[in-house]
Each structure stands twice: as C-alpha cells, then as structure tokens.
C-alpha cells in the first residue's frame, strides 16, 4: 500500500460501518461547503462593483428562509450524530464468548498476554472472525491503544482497567499505534496486529509454547506467595475458602454484599483491609508492591478457574 494511499484498509465489519458513516458525513459536508462556496463566488462575480445588474431587492429574503435552511442542515447532521452514537454504543457491549487478551501499556511498549500464557511485545496475534476482548491497563502514563484498520482506539488511563473489543474479518498485518502522547518514544511505541486464520493461530500459540495456561501459572504463584497456607483446607489461620467463590456474592464485615469479581479479587490481594469478608479477622497482609501486574492477572485467572463452573464473568 505504498505510493499513494488515500483510503485506509478496513479489516472488520465495524471498520466498514465507520467508512460508510464517515463517507455520508463527507458527502453532506461537501454539499454544504459547496453551497457556501458557490453562493459566495456567484455573488462576488455577479454583484461586482462595476457590474450594473438588478439590485432592486426584489427577491426579499426573509428570516423564514434562513431559519428553515439552518434547521434543515441541523436535522441532517443530528441524524448522522445519532447514527454515530449508536455505532459508538456498540463498542461498549462486547459479546460473551470473546477471547480475552490482557494488554499492559508501559512507557514506550505494549505487552500483550494471551489466556494460554503466551506473551508478546508490540505485537498482537489474533484469530480471524472471532470476537477478541482486550483488557487494557497502563503502568505509568496515559497511553492509547489504536488500530487504524479496525477504526478503534481507547485511552489507557493508569489506575483503571479499560476494555475494548473487535472482530477482525480479514487476515493480514495491520498497524498498531500509541495515540496519546506519552513521552520521548511515543512515536516508536507501536507495532503490528496480525490477524490469522484459526489453524495458523493455533499453531502459533503452540509455537509460542506458553508456560501453561494463565490459571496454571496462577496456581504456582498461589503456592509461591503462600496464599495456600491460609486459604486452603487445613490452613493454620482461619481464612475464607476460595473454591467456588468467584462470581458469587460475598457478605462483608461492614454489612454490605459485593460480587467476587476480578476487581474484588485484585483489591483483596493488594488492599485486603478495605473489604474484609464477614466473620473473618482482617489479618491478611497486603501484597501491594510484591505482586506485579502480570502475576496479579494470573492469580485472578486461577481463582476464576476454581470458581463455580462454567467460569464466572471475568
């Protein structure tokens, strides 16, 4: 696509929808601007200083014409705005069975982590025709995960999890950029998104030889950090049993009830005193600073895997 590109690739149904929406906005804008340009040049030429032409004011332009012209253009544009908004809302509810990939933005690189444990930097391999849901986190400043070919972009604000999803339907290799200024190498913080057909994707996953699934790695960490000491049967300290916990309501000591979702698990690991389970002493030490973002994701995946089957919502 070197040489003279003037229209971007569209690698998903959503991208083509955006092309269509942008195209119609372009047409309406072209008509409006064309009208203004034409009228301006026509009047400038017809009513030149020297030209003796009928200026008797016969065509009395009343404000009714002006109001109707303004309302008409406004309605057309508001129609396009509603269309734009509905397409935007579509981004906010990902399908259930999406493949979830955990992406961390760090100053000047993107680190992706597949559920099978495969990790890649500034690269993202995804299967074609399957919804993929990205959970994005940042480790320092605001970045923005931007794939032009899929027409999607999401700022990644540190301290929050952002989600975004897409279903690519054309195999190929597309640009990945960071779109929010994040420092010296903001321009180099990008790479490639490779959409592969399922067979190649499966062989790629095997080739990466992930160190076992996220949940398996989570289990090793569960023991290495000593969680099993308390949380498994026969533990020395009385601590809530985590089997079957994920996704179910947990009564807290201050009387409120909270769903044991990913945030609750993450909060309990890094800040246990905030939401203590009812009937238990707040003795759990905080692991903030010891458990890195990646290990955190593995521990959550493990607790999710021992939750009630089928797996609760992440």
């Amino acid at each position: 696509m070197h040489g003279f590109p003037w229209w971007p690739q569209a690698a998903s149904g959503y991208a083509r929808q955006i092309n269509f929406l942008f195209g119609s906005l372009l047409v309406i804008a072209f008509l409006t601007a064309g009208l203004v340009f034409f009228l301006m040049l026509f009047f400038a030429n017809k009513y030149r200083h020297g030209a003796n032409v009928d200026r008797s004011g016969t065509t009395k332009k009343t404000w009714r014409f002006e109001v109707s012209w303004t309302v008409a253009t406004l309605l057309v544009f508001v129609g396009l705005a509603v269309w734009g908004a509905s397409t935007y809302v579509h981004l906010y509810n990902p399908p259930e069975n999406a493949l979830q990939i955990f992406v961390v933005g760090k100053q000047w690189m993107w680190k992706a982590q597949h559920p099978g444990g495969q990790r890649e930097i500034n690269e993202l391999h995804v299967p074609v025709d399957q919804p993929v849901r990205l959970v994005l986190a940042s480790q320092d400043v605001i970045h923005s995960f931007f794939i032009p070919a899929l027409r999607i972009k999401q700022d990644v604000v540190p301290g929050r999890y952002e989600t975004m999803w897409f279903r690519a339907d054309r195999v190929g290799r597309y640009h990945l950029f960071c779109a929010e200024y994040c420092g010296t190498d903001h321009a180099k913080m990008g790479g490639w998104v490779t959409v592969m057909n399922p067979r190649d994707f499966a062989s790629w996953l095997r080739a990466q030889g992930g160190q076992g699934t996220l949940a398996a790695q989570g289990q090793q960490l569960f023991h290495r950090y000593g969680c099993s000491g308390c949380h498994e049967a026969g533990g020395t300290v009385r601590a809530p049993n985590l089997n079957g916990l994920f996704g179910s309501p947990v009564p807290l000591s201050d009387g409120s009830v909270v769903i044991a979702d990913a945030s609750y698990v993450r909060d309990s690991i890094l800040d246990p005193k905030k939401q203590v389970a009812a009937g238990y002493a707040p003795v759990m030490p905080t692991f903030a600073g010891q458990v890195s973002e990646d290990d955190l994701a593995k521990l959550v995946a493990y607790i999710q895997s021992i939750g009630p089957q089928p797996g609760g919502r992440a």
């Binding site: 971007p8 804008a29 009047f43 002006e66 320092d140 400043v141 301290g159 929010e180 010296t184």
Partner: protein, 539 residues
Amino acid sequence: MHAPVRESYLNASVGIRSWLLTTDHKRIALLYFGGITFFFFVGGIAATLIRLELITPQGDLGSPDFYNRLFTMHGIIMVWFFLIPSIPTTMGNFILPMMIGARDLAFPRLNLLSWYLYIAGGLITLTALLLGGVDTGWTFYEPYSTFYATGYVILTVFGIFVSGFSSILTGLNFIVTVHKLRAPGMTWYRLPVFVWSTYATSVILVLATPVLAMTLLMLLAERVLHVGIFSPQLGGDPLLFQHMFWFYSHPAVYIMILPSMGVISEVVPVFSSKSLFGYYFVVWCSIAIAVIGFLVWGHHMFVAGQSLYASLAFSFLSYLVAVPSAIKVFNWVATMHEGWIRFDAPMLYAFGFIGLFTIGGLTGLMLAALAVDVHVTDTYFVVAHFHYIMVGGAVMGFFAGLHYWWPKISGRLYPDYWARFAAILAFFGFNLTFFPQFILGYLGMPRRYQSYPPEFQIWHVLSSAGASILAVGYALPIFYFAWSILRGPRAPANPWRATGLEWSTPSPPPPENFSTTPTVIRPPYQYDRGKPCMQAGDV
C-alpha cells in the same frame, strides 16, 4: 512635501517613557501588536522546523525529545501568546473605544497592567523554552506532565498562569467599557458587530480563564510538592485534570475565533457597500457561541475513558454549538447578495476566512459524531480541523482586520496589489499545507509523531511544501507594511467608505479620539445605493 503634521496619538508625546507608561488604549494596542508579532514568528519558526522534520518518515532533525519540545513550544506560544491575545488586545484595544465613541477604556491603568502581565508571562515562558523547553504538549496531560516530564514544566506553567491574568483583566475592561462608555445615541442595537463579538469574547475570557488558573495551580502543586491530586498512585483520577483543562480550553478556541468573526462581520458589509444581512441573528449568534461554548468540552475526551452517558451528552451539545456559526456564515454570504463588491485585500482575506472556516466547522461536525471520533481523534484529522479553524479562520480574520484598520492605525495606505497577492498566496499555501492532513488523519497517522510509517510520506511532503508557501504568504505583509509606514501615502479619514464612528475621525486619530463626543444617529452599515451613511451623521 507632506501636509503640516497634525497632532495624533503617535506624536502627542515622545520618548520611551511615554510609550512604556502610556494609558492611551491606542498606544497599548500597538505595544500588544509588537508582542504578538514577535510571538507569532517564534511559534512560526517552531512550525517550520516541525514541517521540515516531517518530510522524511524517520526522525532525522534532532532527537525525539527535541521534536516533542518543538511541537509543545509551537502549541503553547501560538495558543496563549498569539491566538488568544491577537485580535482583542490589538484591534479590540484600538478600535473598540473608537467604535462606541469613547475617549478610552473604562480602566486605562488596568489596561497597561494587562500588557505588563502579558509581557511578564511571555518572558517567563520564553526563558523556560530557551533553557530547554517542555515536552508535555500544550495540554499538559497528567500524570506525564507532573511526574514523568523532564522539561521546565513549572516555569512554563507559571508563565501561562501569569499571562492568564492579562486575559482576565482585558476581558473585564472591555465588558465594563461596552456597558458604561457608549456615546450618546449608541444603543445596544446600534453597536457594530465587532463590538458585540469582542464583548462575547470578553465574557468567555472573564469566565473561563480563572478555571485555567486553578487547574495550572493544582498541576504546579502536584509537581512541586509531589502531592497527589490527580495522581493515580494515590487513587486520584487523571481525567479530572482533563475535565478542568478542557472546561477552559474549549471556550478558549471560541476566544480565538469570535473576534475574527467580528472582523469579518465588519469587512463584508463595507466591501459589499451593503448593510449586514440579519444583524440581530449575527449579534445573538455571537452571544450564543459564547454561552454554548461552555457546554461542549467533553468532546475532547470521547476516548479518554469518560462515562458513556457524558460522551453522548457532549456529542449532542457539540452539534448545537455549530448552529450559531452556521447562521453567521450564511449571513455573511447573504450580505454579498445585491451588493457592490470590491476585491480589496481585507475582502480577499474575508473570502478566505469564510471558505476555510466553513471547512473547519464541517470537519468539526464530523469529529463530534462519536463513532468517527474514536477513529480520528488524536490523529492528523484533528490537527487539520483545528488548524482550519485557527489558521484558516482566526489568522485570516486577524490579517483581514489588520489590512482593514491599518490606514486608521498608522495613518498610511499600503500597496493594494501586494496585499491582494499575499492574501491569495496565504490561501493556497494554507490549503496545500492542511488539506493533505485530513487524508493523513483518516489513514490513521497519529498526532505528535516524529517518525511515521513510510506510506504516509507523500502527504507529509505535500504538506511541508504548502507550509513554505504559507510562510511566504505571512512574511510578505512585514515588507509592504514597513514600506507603508515609511513612504506610504497619507490615509484619508474614511478610505474604504465605511460607516463606523472610527471612520469619522482623522487617521491616525488624535489622543482623545474625537474632538467632541459624537452622537450616534443610525445603526451601522447603512448604505443607500452604495453610498455610506455615517453612524455619527455627515459631520
């Protein structure tokens, strides 16, 4: 060989002290004019270096850090030290009191204080830039600007904080002047539209700039004292900074465009020798832009992570704010209908303004459509959009006003053909510079990139070529205005056959503007069959 030199505000008193301690609104306007011209070229040099850098896909004009400081310098200087002060402080200061028949602004000494605050802020920011500059972008997004940026953020932010007070005091001065110092007979509906636009701009200046002052103070507190207001490490929310920053910065773009709209509303009727179409519409649209301008800032944060509800609300409100601008464009074009159109330099700049501002406004409507914004925000599409509004609109309007009131300000005429050539050159240079950036934007080229994928290079080369033409278009006026001051023919009181009060006093005007306070007998822009009917009667 010239007529005996009549006493004017220029030679009423001589010497540096008479200029640096003047309370004459006309002299302060010229002091400001010197300041903003200097900063316009400082920002312009940064823009030229950026365009030179972007000719090649890989970054080869200095390190990435240098490039980051370049675009930040370009942004800060152009926004706070050229665009925001440009028309209100020069033409506003000079022409507004004359248009309403006043001898000076309501608080002359406050006006001088505003100039000193502007120069102080400018020098502080300039020292920061000379010491090494800032690499945060003109938006200073947290947490990069407070914890990770290495440049002179504190000094630069303090410079902007100081110059912000200059904006507040200028706005305050204009509001009180328009309310209290109108000449007898000058009712609100007899005010020229430039006065209305400057009044609407002053409302925004007074009500938006304090929020910027507080936001910058909190940013300074965070960076200097290492406390965490927005810092995510303590659980704070970086989006709160963006909310408070854009609450000021979107009205700020209306501060930049409204005065230019005022100038165009003055120029088009005069050079069509016909009254402005729909005066009441144009006037109340200026006020509507100033008010609704405060409700739309969220469209800068559609992808930043704000709630879906807020994005929907801000997207819809952004379509409302476009309506007054559309009405004004329609009225300017309708004014030309059945007029006697002359193609002097100010009118050519006005044509350029109407054309480019329309494109800028329409691309703004495209950006306000949520789904499109997700793709094109933070890309060159946005860069092209706001340059069409600010350079195509505000700067074209500034040049239109400059060429329109130059005879009144300097008392000299300038060579008309050179001025028309400069206007046409700037128009084509501008389009060649920024239209390719729309295409780059939709292709997905992000903003603030020193190096980019090679397939985008063709558009960057076109854009850089256009930038060199635009640079010539902006440099030309220096020469023929200099020539005009030194050897230009003396200007009559009303060279363009306009109707405002400022044209019924000699040019350059005497220190007290009018020998006797004029009484206004009719609304502005009254022509009968092409002959101007002066507002102050045929004195």
